[in-house]
Amino acid sequence: MQKILIKGGHVIDLGNGRDTKADLLVEGNRIAAIGDQLTVEGAEVVDAEGCTVSPGFVDLHVHLREPGFEYKEDIFTGTRAAARGGFTSIVCMPNTEPVIDDETGVRFVRDKAGQHGAVRVYPAGAVTKGQKGEEIAEIGLMHEAGAKMFSDDGLPVVSARVMSTALTYSKMFGVPISTHEEDPTLAGDGAVNFGRISTLMGLPGMPEEAETVMIARDLELCRRVGGHLHIGHVSTARSVALIAGAKEDGVNVTCEVTPHHLTLTEDLVRESDYDTNTKMKPPLRTESDRRALVTALREGIIDAVATDHAPHSFDDKDREYIFADNGIVGLETAFALLHDRLVLPGDLPLHRLIEALTAAPARILGVDAGTLREGALADIAILRTDQEWAVNPGDFASKGRNTPLVGWSLTGKVETVLVDGKIVMRGGELL
């Protein structure tokens, strides 16, 4: 059996009470041992001196775009981008063409990922047929086919009755319903946050209440009918306050936040002079929203970090601001951005960032990931927290180059990644 010994790294895996220097032995696809000064005959040694050894990251929110939009991204390139970012398990969203709303779609993605994927892929199935928001999709059959989460992401479930039914029905399978909270009558054709920036730049705005009224609605539905409500990409201070209140009352709700909402604000739209890589849904909000999100992540009110990796072609972004597609790529910059902007200044402890990227999302998804306990699957990310690098989209494995971080200098880099006991990236280079 193949053996890999990761030597001399600082292992952070709080779920198993570990935040110390230790060696880690991988045998086959499992973690065989963790301990001091391990020496193993015939093991391939990975020198992790000066590095942080973390469970592989788990991303609850990725757009792989396949089938249908392979010109933006596909399963091969998207999973390689994930590996470059330290992500070893990802959930891909079903807003493809056709929509992944039946077991055939789920199997297609799983099979393709099994053949060509660099990391584990868990397809999210659509909540409603065709993501039309009218009839619930075959959640049971998709679950049997391997869907671990359900979402109409990209679109809200507008009908409260349909959302209530979906939550009720999903209880049978114990799967989370992940939401894109946006009241379309309030969001309208908004391109940026409604407020100071929309006024100054003369762009249509999406108000924060487009998000919060839908969150309030879904929290009340979940409180009443049960199920597991997972709120995608929260972006406002009020969203966090509503979720905190519901959690206190015992509502079965979890939520995620993106790296960009944690680090960027609407001011970037202005500073960048209408760079369409500042356009996404939900929009970048205010500094006070951003601070509230960071605090909530630190305190665990926000459970997980998820990238909402949204690759687009150059042409889809290279347009007038109001016509450009929404979203930015995130897989390959997530750790560095959050480490540089939140951990280094002292706003977020490294172990909490790692938990929000590993154990927390794995728990939400209900999969065996995000842990370094002995016997667990050997999905591992080795990080250099002292290495500075400049973001160059030309180096991305993703087809999407749509990031507002071009040229940003960030400290913190993913060095080596193991998936299922195999090294998929070494020294920052994909194998």
Partner: protein, 308 residues
């Protein structure tokens, strides 16, 4: 010699008072040309100007065309309807085509805020924003300032009141930036649904009641009400808008005696403004039109370096 700092005129927000002063002074001399029986001078002979109108426009387009003609610049206009602008050509391709055709100056009107900025970042030609979304309409702001200054001699210390659909108005935004830079105080008033959030950050004061806003105003600028906004439920009816915010003789009487009345046109008579005052002695609306040509001539002259 004083000059403009940028190759482009995209908005008044980032323009200095000195630059505005220079444009207004230049526009005053251009106005003399317009007032001559023979209006054409050879200043920009051999220079070429392209206009791209992604939104319909009559007044602004004619005004730019005349400005080119009076200065002897060659002018080509493309309107959206029936052109490649209407055939799904990307702005990138339009820009690339513009670049190789080589006009020295491009005028652009577009429904998206920031579209002229995109153009300006990607061509070496000068770009004049002729209105982008509801962001800015700098030539309108400049002609409004010019029209007032020609009557009052200065903009310093004036109280300028802007009434109407501030939410969707690029004219209002350019006026707010411009007049304040020149030392005026700007007060705005509109139904609460038509006041954009945090507009105070632009430095102006919001008076929800139009009567309060008009008190002691030296200049009253009435904005055009786009009637389709009623269908979007920004106000319940034209009748109610007129009753609450329409400018009539009684309301104009709250301003200083002899206060100047402006409107960027086209007017909805009997809605945002009544006919008696629109055509009355305080109105400088018909002055705004030739001043608009003069301001555009001034910009063409300054950007194309006509003096050299």
């Amino acid at each position: 010699m004083a000059e403009l700092k940028s190759k482009d005129v995209l908005g008044l927000e980032h323009m200095s008072a000195d630059e505005i002063q220079l444009i207004l002074d230049t526009a005053d001399s251009m106005r003399e040309i317009i007032d001559r029986p023979i209006k054409q001078v050879p200043t920009l002979r051999g220079r070429n100007v392209l206009s791209l109108f992604y939104e319909s426009s009559t007044r602004t387009k004619i005004s730019f065309d005349l400005a080119c003609r009076y200065l002897s610049a060659g002018a080509v206009s493309v309107a959206k309807s029936g052109s490649s602008l209407d055939k799904g050509e990307s702005l990138r391709d339009t820009v690339r085509n513009v670049e190789v055709m080589g006009p020295e100056l491009v005028i652009m009107r577009h429904p998206s805020g920031g579209a002229p900025h995109y153009l300006a970042q990607n061509v070496t030609s000068s770009v004049i924003n002729a209105g982008d979304g509801y962001h800015e309409h700098p030539t309108q702001g400049l002609l409004d300032m010019m029209s007032v200054r020609r009557r009052t001699g200065t903009l310093e210390g004036l109280k300028v009141t802007i009434v109407g659909d501030l939410f969707h108005s690029r004219v209002a935004r350019s006026d707010i930036w411009g007049f304040q830079k020149m030392g005026s105080e700007v007060v705005v008033s509109a139904p609460s649904t038509l006041i954009p959030p945090d507009i105070e950050e632009m430095g102006c004061r919001v008076e929800p009641r139009v009567e309060d806003a008009l008190k002691d105003a030296d200049v009253v600028c009435v904005l055009r009400l786009q009637l389709e906004r009623q269908k979007q439920s920004f106000f319940p009816s034209v009748r109610e808008y007129h009753a609450l915010y329409g400018i009539n003789a009684r309301r104009l009487g709250l301003a200083r005696p002899g206060a100047l009345l402006m409107h960027p046109g086209p007017m909805n008579r009997g809605v945002e403004i009544t006919t008696d005052i629109a055509d009355g002695p305080q109105s400088i609306i018909l002055d705004q039109v030739p001043n608009g040509v003069a301001v555009r001539m001034a910009l063409l002259y300054l950007l194309l370096g006509g003096g050299e």
